[in-house]
């Protein structure tokens, strides 16, 4: 298979690699370089300014606010989402009643139905989901407050996205809503590959379902949980939080910057304020946060690998 091999390899790799280098790798390298300049993005002229952008960033209150919110997105959101998803997945796969002549541990009836329905939000554009919930959160005529009035909670009429104390939570709830299903399916796949004998042994030893979950299921599923956590954290730091915050909350990132996140701040500095260099500086900070987050989760989650 040697004849013309290298010509073939070059021919096949040139186009994909070229596109990827031009639109992904090259801008990525450039952005780190630009963070040391005073480039506005509007004119082609700029000069090196050393660490000026970085020291400016450290004095920027809004940057710190956005960092705080992004960290909340990366740490709290995956915990809530993954816990809920683990709970549902366990119910779906192990919560079933024992059937005659059936296996000891089974899923509930209709487990495939639940998996299909829970996954719905995952295939919708996060932009469309955000729009939908922006309507639902409308304080006067939105679906949620009307529902509250309908069930006799007329006194509880939060402003939701208009309330600086609530807006961030309201936005995060939307991301939970839209991602839980994905993890339910992911964890279900993992749980399905755990051998039934493991459960049988645990049940024979008198363990109830709660113990079974913490002693059998969770340890055996740990690798999946961990990579799911990293995956969700990266999403929550990046594209997903950009869409929900930009679309759902108005103004500069929610009332009084209460929902601003790092990605949104990068976008605003670059494309609204004409401060491209400063935007890339915040982008570098975002990269550092992302890598640190992944490293910490990997480190904390390190367990002895279980073979089965």
């Amino acid at each position: 298979m040697q004849h013309g091999k290298y010509r073939f390899i070059v021919g096949f790799l040139a186009l994909p690699l070229g596109l990827y280098a031009l639109f992904v790798v090259w801008p990525f390298i450039q952005s780190i370089y630009y963070s040391f300049t005073d480039w506005t993005g509007l004119s082609p002229e700029f000069k090196m300014v050393g660490f000026d952008n970085y020291s400016r960033m450290l004095d920027d209150d809004i940057f710190w606010k956005s960092l705080q919110h992004s960290l909340l997105f990366a740490l709290l959101l995956p915990v809530v989402t993954i816990s809920l998803a683990l709970f549902f997945a366990f119910m779906i796969n192990v919560g079933g009643r024992k059937r005659r002549n059936g296996p000891v541990v089974t899923g509930v009836r209709g487990s495939s139905f639940y998996k299909i329905v829970y996954f719905f939000p995952q295939v919708l554009s996060i932009a469309i989901v955000a729009l939908l919930f922006a309507f639902a959160y409308n304080p006067d005529s939105g679906a949620i407050n009307t529902l509250l009035r309908g069930i006799g909670l007329g006194d509880v009429q939060p402003l939701w996205l208009g309330d600086p104390d609530l807006a961030l939570w309201a936005v995060m709830a939307v991301l939970v809503w839209s991602t839980v299903g994905f993890f339910v399916v992911l964890f279900s796949a993992g749980m399905a590959s755990i051998p039934a004998e493991m459960y049988e042994a645990a049940l024979l030893d008198g363990a109830n379902r709660v113990t079974t979950f913490f002693r059998v299921t969770l340890p055996l599923l740990w690798d999946t949980v961990q990579s799911g956590w990293v995956y969700m954290g990266i999403l929550a730091l990046g594209a997903e939080s950009f869409a929900v915050v930009q679309i759902m909350t108005t103004g500069p990132g929610g009332p009084d910057y209460s929902t601003t996140v790092m990605v949104l701040y990068v976008y605003q500095k670059a494309f609204r304020d004409g401060q491209a260099a400063y935007a890339t500086t915040i982008g570098v900070a975002l990269l550092v946060v992302t890598l640190a987050f992944a490293a910490v989760v990997m480190r904390l989650g390190r367990r002895e690998r279980l073979e089965y």
Binding site: L15, F23, L124
Partner: protein, 307 residues
């Protein structure tokens, strides 16, 4: 991944699911008590969440058939009559048809490009030994985990300098570039699992490398191409951040962008019912694609997280 899914039963309002996996009569009530309590509890919790997932979607569909006044006065009431005019108005006057066409063009072009270029790169990386193979592979894979936003600012100027800003083909090229990491990752793994003997036999018989690839390997890789194709279809159809930055010409907007713009400008002339019709229009193709290709979608999406 276990593939026991039966075809999707329609989401009944009651949430009572029926599947074919249950055989025989219901088990006697005399089971262990824990099992019964747990079963009721599980179903309760699961039904509640299923309801919470379906309710906002049903609400959107319902609202798209109502007139503006009742959307605001009674968001939860059923429409007094089915206002199909919302849909036709959204389609023609609110430019949904243009956005739809733009999206179809962009996604169609990028999907084909992604699959062709992705499978070429993946094939070479999976089947040939050459210096730099590992490096190029990891260069592609690395793209899956870094924040796109960081590259977006210089990307804007790269695209601008090439004169590709606000063009459909520019957007296609960028979509392809950003879809390559996962596509190459997925297809490299796939090509490694295909038997080498057939390709070698073809080569011995005098077929060139590229002929072997297009006529033998690519048809054999069809299941993998379908999985990764659906994954990319959903991702590219739903893309919001890239077009928001690279595509500011109102005539070139894709669906997600167009809808957000409509909503931001308070709905065109305050036509909320039309806006909801547009929202539902944008949701339907992906929900349909998901229900039809459910197994491949799940495979494609979960493979990404389990890398």
């Amino acid at each position: 991944m276990k593939t026991t899914e039966t075809p999707a039963p329609l989401p009944a309002e009651s949430g009572a699911p029926i599947t074919k996996t249950d055989i025989g009569p219901p088990p006697p009530v005399k089971e262990k008590k824990e099992g019964t309590v747990l079963n009721v509890f599980s179903h309760g919790v699961l039904v509640v969440w299923a309801f919470m997932v379906v309710l906002p979607l049903l609400w959107a569909v319902m609202t798209s058939f109502k007139d503006d006044r009742s959307i605001f006065s009674s968001p939860w009431s059923l429409p007094d009559s089915l206002h199909f005019d919302n849909w036709s108005r959204a389609w023609t006057q609110a430019n949904m048809s243009d956005y739809f066409l733009n999206t179809v063009l962009v996604v169609g072009g990028s999907l084909i490009g992604t699959l062709v270029l992705g499978s070429m790169a993946a094939y070479v990386l999976a089947r040939f030994e050459f210096p730099g193979n590992r490096f190029i592979y990891f260069l592609f894979i690395g793209g899956m985990s870094f924040p796109i936003m960081l590259a977006l600012v210089p990307l804007f100027y790269v695209v601008n300098n090439m004169g590709l800003l606000n063009t459909i083909h520019g957007l296609i090229l960028v979509y392809i570039a950003y879809s390559l990491p996962f596509t190459v990752f997925f297809l490299t793994a796939f090509f490694r699992t295909l038997p080498t003997s057939i390709a070698e036999a073809a080569f011995v018989d005098g077929a060139s490398h590229s002929r072997t690839f297009f006529q033998i390997m690519l048809p054999m890789a069809k299941p993998g191409l379908i999985s990764v194709g659906i994954f990319n279809f959903l991702g590219q159809w739903n893309q919001y951040m890239l077009p928001t930055v690279l595509n500011t010409d109102p005539d070139k907007r894709v669906l997600t962008q167009g809808l957000v713009q409509l909503a931001v400008s308070q709905g065109y002339k305050g036509d909320w019912s039309g806006l909801f019709a547009g929202l539902v229009m944008a949701m339907l193709p992906v929900l349909a694609a998901y229900i039809i290709f459910q197994r491949q979608v799940v495979q494609g999406l979960t493979a990404g997280a389990l890398k």
